[in-house]
């Protein structure tokens, strides 16, 4: 047993800015083993894997590879030890050949020139190992379909003395038969003695491909199961745990009787959503949960007019037909959207808090032809107080605030105008727990004040804790509708119906 242990991570600890994200974590791997690493968003999976791949340094603990302790100071150290990581997003060079893509990190040389023959011979051998016998190494990478590029990427990771392969959500953009093809490759690699760490939210896939399941929760070990001896419920329970309920405010008493403010039929976004129906009710929170890639990313912005190639059969706002067009029109119709990618789509970092606050509602802050700065300043000061935003004052550039405080501004700016529905995309992504509670409380207060809220989140717990009613998405379709507050595990199993099942 011990002599085929390839990796042993012990007592791993890591903190960012004083906030612990990993505490005393253990993780081990035997040769030829496929271990699924599971956990909710923010559980510490990525941090642990970034430590293993040499991208982060650890604060505590030891890492032994093949029985010997190693320091892993840089990605180069990890590569030299045979630890390879397959990135979540495809990272290839579309205009280079397949052989060049595979060998790019270690091009064989003949004097000063690239030894094309040696390169192609070695690339061909690696392709054969992946079962891609017929593929010419001279094919241009960009000419291949997405999943074949993915496999070539795996071949690249196998170049040299590979021992451990980390796969982070490898099936996120693959179709059902392509997933089967990937599983075939995983079995081949396992037979070759390669160990695989498989990170995924799709429990069906995890049960199909892994031999063991390791669970992290809040930066600690929360379970280690032999796949054959466990079941979905047990694993889900380990992922979610018994969370304290006071992070979330109470649900609305009259959500069921409230009227629809927005009614959407047949919302489609090419490549993302396939005919989704939903409604948002006044005075309550409607949750949408789905995994990354399920279309959960697009549903809010499609309604807001900010997603390309959107089609919709019918939208009504307050019973009147509404034509989805641009964000500007959506704002006029009383919709507001707090975007998931705050830095990219939410704030103008170099402008002040005050200027960011008024941006979406300039007409409210215009006197004659010029901006009413006094009103801006008093309004901003008021919201800084009401949301306890930690800032020196209203003139501070918003980019210098913490994520949670930026998010409070992004929330507050919509409350100035005549808003009917507020769309929240991943409202607490990158937000610490203290600010989270404050944000949840505010969201509930807004709903109690009569606003319709569409809460979109890939965090099932968040939807379960906050939404009065919710829908689950998988592969661009609604898989289940919950008219009452529901459990995170119910949302997760509705959302983890993999591409194969949907």
């Amino acid at each position: 047993m011990a002599n085929n242990r390839i990796l042993d991570m012990n007592g791993i600890g890591k903190a960012f800015g004083g906030v612990p994200v990993l505490a005393d974590v253990h993780f081990h791997l035997d040769a030829g083993e496929v271990v699924a690493l599971l956990g909710a968003n923010g559980a510490g999976k990525s941090t642990l894997m970034k430590i293993l791949s040499g991208n982060y340094s650890r604060d505590a603990g030891t890492i032994a590879v093949n029985g010997r302790d190693h320091d892993l100071k840089s990605p180069a150290d990890a590569l030299a030890l045979g630890i390879r990581m397959l990135p979540q997003e495809l990272s290839v060079f579309p205009d280079l050949t397949v052989a060049e893509n595979i060998m790019i990190g270690a091009l064989p040389k003949n004097g000063m020139h690239v030894d094309r023959r040696a390169m192609e011979v070695r690339a061909t051998a690696l392709l054969e190992r992946m079962g891609l016998d017929g593929l010419s190494p001279r094919t241009r990478m960009g000419a291949l379909s997405h999943h074949v590029q993915r496999i070539v990427e795996i071949a690249r990771a196998m170049n040299g003395e590979a021992r451990v392969l980390i796969m982070d959500e490898p099936t996120a953009s693959l179709a059902a038969d392509e997933v089967q093809m990937l599983f075939g490759i995983i079995r081949r690699l396992r037979a070759d003695g390669i160990s695989i760490i498989y990170i995924s939210h799709y429990l069906k896939e995890v049960f199909a491909v892994s031999g063991r399941i390791a669970v992290l929760r809040d930066g600690r070990n929360a379970g280690d199961f032999t796949t054959a001896n466990t079941n979905v419920d047990e694993v889900l329970h380990a992922i979610i745990g018994n969370r304290v309920g006071d992070l979330y405010p109470a649900f609305s008493a009259n959500a069921a009787s409230a009227a629809d403010v927005v009614r959407v039929e047949g919302l489609s976004v090419e490549g993302w959503l396939r005919g989704v129906d939903f409604t948002v009710r006044g005075g309550s929170i409607t949750g949408v949960h789905g995994l990354i890639g399920s279309g959960v990313e697009m549903i809010g912005r499609a309604l807001f007019g900010a997603a390309p190639r959107t089609r919709v059969r019918r939208v009504e706002i307050d019973g009147k037909p509404y034509q989805v067009s641009t964000p500007g029109k959506a704002v006029e119709a009383g919709l507001g959207l707090v975007a998931a990618e705050r830095k990219r789509e939410g704030i103008v970092a170099m402008l002040s808090l005050r200027e960011n606050m008024s941006l979406a509602n300039m007409p409210l802050f215009t006197k004659g032809v010029s901006v009413d700065r006094k009103k801006e300043a008093t309004t901003t000061a008021e919201w800084i107080r009401r949301l306890s935003i930690r800032a020196r004052n209203a003139e501070q550039p918003i980019g210098t605030l913490s994520g949670g405080n930026q998010q409070k501004v992004c929330l507050a700016r919509w409350l100035l105008g005549d808003l009917k529905v507020l769309i929240l995309e991943e409202p607490t992504r990158g937000v610490d727990v203290g600010a989270r509670q404050e944000i949840y409380r505010q969201i509930r207060q807004l709903a109690d004040g009569g606003l319709g809220i569409l809460l979109i989140s890939s965090d099932a717990e968040e939807v379960a804790g906050l939404a009065d009613r919710s829908i689950a998405l998988a592969s661009g379709r609604v898989t289940e509708v919950f008219e009452q507050p529901t459990e995170a595990s119910a949302l997760m199993s509705a959302a983890s119906k993999s591409a194969a099942a949907a």
Partner: protein, 334 residues
């Protein structure tokens, strides 16, 4: 000057800002002002002819057309656009005035036609960059080449005389007698005040900074990013044409190739003035100071009999030095 500069930050002040923020908004412009004063001091010591009212006013008058183009270019670059065709527009604008006048049209109507044509070219630039989503560098490089070529085609490359006393007054007239303030300088300052006012005090100004600072976030907030940029291309075209009219009035002739060579000075002034080429940051007062610095450098070196070849070298070195220092300042704040 220093008085006006104090009220003109890109993010205008609410009173009692803490000191470090005051530094943030002002450090760039203050640095330029210091640089300008040092330059003035050096040339005053080296040349007895430099520090005279007449000489200083002539610097302003000679730089006015460049200042005009830079005044419109600044908000455009802040908003995330770029207009390389502005100097070519100035060139063809003089040609249009001359051709209209030669065709018997009243000189003032001819000026109006030229300025409207400039606005139209700007609208074309805006339509290509924002309507068709083409890169502004390439679009305006293309229109620059087309317009420059068209000016030469229309005139056969020949200078067209425009000696009309009333018209020439725009370029070389002075208000307040022969030692008074040059008309081009006044026109330029009026344009700077307008630009400052629009950028600092109107919702449109806020949209300029937001569009360039983060176009995606701006779109998500319903801000008309494309309309803002298109309007600024039009403004750039109008300013270019006005600059062309002033140059033609000053020279008493429309020379098709008289302004195009100054494009780099216009862009250099905007960048030297602290405007970020990536958008979102900058002010017209920074640009104005930069125009003054470049004009003073030119004037002072000429008074010292330095060859114009060396002047280009100096200009480039100053630009690199100033932009380098500004980057250090911005990074130290981040």
């Amino acid at each position: 000057m220093s008085q006006t500069t104090v009220s003109t930050a890109p993010t205008p002040a609410v009173r009692n800002r803490p000191k470090n923020l005051l530094g943030h908004a002002w450090a760039g412009v203050a640095m330029l002002l210091a640089f300008y004063l040092i330059l003035v001091a050096i040339f005053t010591v080296l040349s007895p002819f430099f520090l005279t009212v007449k000489n200083l006013l002539s610097i302003g008058s000679n730089m006015a057309f460049i200042g005009l183009m830079a005044a419109a270019g600044t908000p455009l670059i802040i908003a995330g656009g770029l207009d390389l065709s502005v100097a070519a527009v100035a060139g063809i604008s003089g040609v249009i005035v001359a051709m209209c006048y030669a065709a018997g049209i009243d000189i003032w109507i001819a000026c109006l036609v030229a300025i409207l044509a400039g606005g139209l070219i700007g609208a074309g630039n805006g339509a290509l960059t924002n309507g068709l989503k083409l890169n502004p560098f390439i679009v305006t490089l293309g229109t620059m080449s087309i317009i420059t070529g068209a000016s030469l085609v229309l005139t056969g490359g020949l200078t067209q005389p425009l000696m009309i006393p009333g018209f020439n007054w725009i370029g070389s007239g002075k208000i307040g007698g022969s030692g008074g303030i040059p008309v081009p300088l006044i026109i330029m300052l009026v344009v700077y005040f307008l630009a400052w006012w629009a950028m600092a005090f109107t919702p449109f100004g806020r949209y300029i900074y937001a569009s360039g600072g983060n176009p995606e976030a701006s779109r998500m907030l319903g801000i008309p990013v494309d309309r803002t940029q298109i309007l600024l291309y039009v403004a750039s075209g109008l300013a270019g044409a006005l600059a062309g009219v002033i140059v033609a009035a000053m020279l008493g002739a429309a020379a098709p190739d008289s302004v195009g060579k100054h494009l780099l000075t216009v862009i250099a002034a905007i960048i030297l003035g602290g405007t970020s080429l990536f958008g979102g940051r900058g002010s017209v007062w920074g640009t104005l100071l930069a125009v003054l610095i470049l004009g003073t450098l030119n004037n002072g070196l000429t008074l010292l009999n330095v060859s114009s070849f060396w002047q280009d070298v100096t200009k480039g070195a100053v630009l690199l030095l100033a932009v380098g220092l500004d980057q250090l300042r911005v990074r130290s704040q981040a």
